[in-house]
Symmetry: D2
Subunit: 103 residues, 4 copies
Amino acid sequence: MAVMEISVIPLGTKTPSVSKHVAKALDVLKNEKDVKYQLTPMGTIVEGDLEKLLSIARRMHESVFNEVLRVVTTIKIDDRRDKQLTMGSKVRSLQEKIQTGSE
Amino acid sequence: MAVMEISVIPLGTKTPSVSKHVAKALDVLKNEKDVKYQLTPMGTIVEGDLEKLLSIARRMHESVFNEVLRVVTTIKIDDRRDKQLTMGSKVRSLQEKIQTGSE
Amino acid sequence: MAVMEISVIPLGTKTPSVSKHVAKALDVLKNEKDVKYQLTPMGTIVEGDLEKLLSIARRMHESVFNEVLRVVTTIKIDDRRDKQLTMGSKVRSLQEKIQTGSE
Amino acid sequence: MAVMEISVIPLGTKTPSVSKHVAKALDVLKNEKDVKYQLTPMGTIVEGDLEKLLSIARRMHESVFNEVLRVVTTIKIDDRRDKQLTMGSKVRSLQEKIQTGSE
């Protein structure tokens, strides 16, 4: 299991507002079964196995093209093989360190 | 006002667990007055003016070096000048488009 | 045709030197037929169709795991559908604008 | 000394061609004294000390706003403190590993 962050940026959109185009990419996730994701102010975070994450990324990227001619998509994958990595475990692990200040 | 996402990655940390190092960077934010930020599974999102955001980014990056010798920091800044961009407004704008399906 | 930039970062590598691990990812590209790529100080840039680029990205990411337990891979795809985008055309287009200062 | 990659993306540019806007950011670099940089198909790579790199990043980002209202800028900084990191040394170190296949 890996955690992916994806952000799609449509170029040449007439106005600086791009949310209606980005919403198309999120529709792909909404229609996906059994996928856990989280919307942030700077992108979308999804957890799943690598193959599935990349398939989702490809379809999210494609979905933006119905009205725009150029899309820049950034994908970051955090993949750890010695223990289960989830969106929840990543944040919890960090919050414990911040609160206790322990090493 | 702009919105920044920052992620610090310490290299050469002996184990694949890096949260104790990343926690140092978050301490910088905790000690910052009047800065709104949000922790996500893939980074930290901060809103503020450009000058302040870059100053925070520099100090977060530096803070990780007390125990590690190499840090790769990724910063993404979304800066819009025709209207106020906030972490909240970005997510709300997107959620409206998804729910209504309107353009 | 799209242009992709990919960067693989192995975590928990004991020393801050990671080039021997990153070299594994580049071996994937070397063994690929008919793929044009360029090594930069911050990643690798590849041109090709979207499907192929994501397949290469997946294999480059996987290749780093033989000795490390965690890999953070960043992929950026610039995909334009109204005209052919290549590594060469992108740089040329920019250099013309810089030299002439024309709009 | 650190190595930075920066990419500026103007939004709402009416056409998918953005090179004339990106060229403004490169003018900032051209006018900078004693800064080593390299143009790639996906961004610009600069080497220097952290403070200077972030100052350059801020000015490159700002320079794009004279005609556009929204800019998304991505900055990646690779900073190593146990030895001198340069654009040249990073690529050379990698090429040695690929050619010899040594570990």
